[in-house]
Amino acid sequence: MKAVFAHLTGQNSRQGLWILPLIAGIVGFAWLAVSTDQFATPQNAKNLLAQAMPLIIVAIGQMMVVLLGGLDLSVGAVISFTTAILALDAPAAITIPAVFIAAIAIGFINGTTVTRLNVNPIIATLAMQMIIMGLTRLMRPVAGGEVPEVVKQLVSGAVFGVPFTVFWGLLVCLLAWKMLYGSRFGLHIFAIGGGIASGQSDAAHTFGIADKRTTLLAYIGCSCFAALAGIFLAGRIVSGDPNIGPPFTLDSVTAVAIGGTQLSGGVGSLHGTIIGALVLALLSNGMNLANVSAFVQTAIKGAVLLAVVAFQSRKKIGL
């Protein structure tokens, strides 16, 4: 019994607590499918997927940084910045590369200040968030503008009745899977994070792993995933909006945490993060269908987060 409990709560597991959120998600899904008749419809499935997709994308990027014991609070600002760039009234051939150049630059600054200049990740990315939000508001004080037709098509199009959103999901998951589980980069992330979590922040370094370079790349990757989410959102709202990004900062951390990734680093999984983001999306989708007010939704989101985190057990006290 104790072993089963330890397995369910993800004790001593590299992947963390992801089974309980999965069960909670399935139970919630089943309950919604039985109790409300609008839930189990193709239209709602499409909505749910489209709602969850940007969060899944941001959360995957956020997870890479969290696995290294860091935190990226600038992802929300990157999303807003991306939509503002796309709505600049320029051809997509210029704005889409510009979005990624900006994301790489932001990730590079975040990563460099954290790894080379010894700045705490929370404070470095918080400062970056302020700067990027300032720039975004300079470019686009209120929502408006129009994104290129290509971007709209990329998000709302469909082939053989399968919406492009599905391909976005497959592509992003494949890319993230390759990065985390099919490359040296991913292996190094877990090695560095494991060392940081157990208090030996240079453990991976002593094994010859380029820890600073890997961390820098993780921050760049995180910003790029946020930019990708920004492109997706811009395609959905067909305009630039400075206020669309900021909620994703904390939501992405929430999704990552629900998915069993520990904020001290080293423990977490891709499927856990996807489950976490889906559970969050399911929560708001289901509560919308059940006519639960947005305010109660906020409170319930917090309570779920608190419950999940109280189940996780770790050795370190604090952050």
């Binding site: 935190l71 609070l73 200040t113 200049l117 010894n118 700045v119 705490n120 929370i122 404070i123 470095a124 918080l126 400062a127 970056m128 968030q129 302020m130 700067i131 939000m133 300032g134 720039l135 975004t136 508001r137 300079l138 004080p141 208090g199 904390l250 951390v253 929430t254 945490a257 520990q262 904020l263 001290s264 007010s293 947005a294 305010f295 109660v296 939704q297 906020t298 409170a299 319930i300 989101k301 917090g302 309570a303 987060l305 608190l306 985190v309 109280a310 996780q312 057990s313 770790r314 050795k315 370190k316 006290i317 604090g318 952050l319």
Partner: protein, 314 residues
Amino acid sequence: MTSALSSPLAQRLLRIPPAYYVFGALLLTLWLTRPQLFNPNVMGIFIRQVAPLGILVLGQLLVMRVRSIDLSGAGVILLVNYIISSGLFPNGTLAFYLFMSIGIGLSVGLVNGVLVGLRRSSAVIVTLATNIILIGVVQLLASGKPPGDVPGFLRDIYNSKVLNVPSAVIIWVVLTGVLSIFLSRTVYGRYVESVGENPTAAHFSGVPVARTVVTAHLLAGVMAGLAGLVQTSSIAVGSIRFGLDLPLNAVAATILGGVIFGRGDGGVWGPFFGVMSFAMLFIVMTTFGIQEPGKLIAQGSIILIAAIFYGLRS
């Protein structure tokens, strides 16, 4: 660069928290460009506005010294504000509101402290979650509408002055002084220092690590409650949206003041000047007519540059 940084003088200068440099530079800018603003009345009004942030920072620096963090301040402030301004207790006295604010702070701090200290959950997530819950509860109670008026006598106290200094500022300075003495003269202060320095070593030296962390969160909750009371007194009509960015600003001010997770080199007065430099930044920005986006960029750049300079020495 490296050799210049390792000289004794540079080392000594780098050891001074960036808050003092930022505060000095901004004060100088103001003195050179707008000397007419250099009178206690104008400065008092601006500094009075950051008093709630300053009180919140006192709690933040305490939890950050024991390697934790408290992001639930916004929720506590919002709840205090809602209860006072919604007219639930129309005959409330100052003592009643004071006890209520401290009580709310203590209960939230207890939840945070137990989960972070005893259950060993991640402090970022726990305090974020309590914050979300509190905000949701307040918005639900208010059903999206702003609550009613703030009792007049709170506003009168806020507007009063003692020896030409606004009373909100006096409350802030007194609390800072009390915390400073508390941390430097009591056993608990020693516990905080040793837990921050090395929790494992502290544990094996017989320091009650978990209890120290729980107490820090309790005190942080109390400070957030008091910040809520001062913040509420500063406005005439209640609101359900204000103060949401206060916790992150409190973290920024604390780090600017030389207190980083586990290390408290800046003491209590470093973060105090961190908050003061935010006030000065606000004055300078306003007098130069810089709009909201520019303010954000300037604030972010100053925090980043200060943190980089502080990070260079270690």
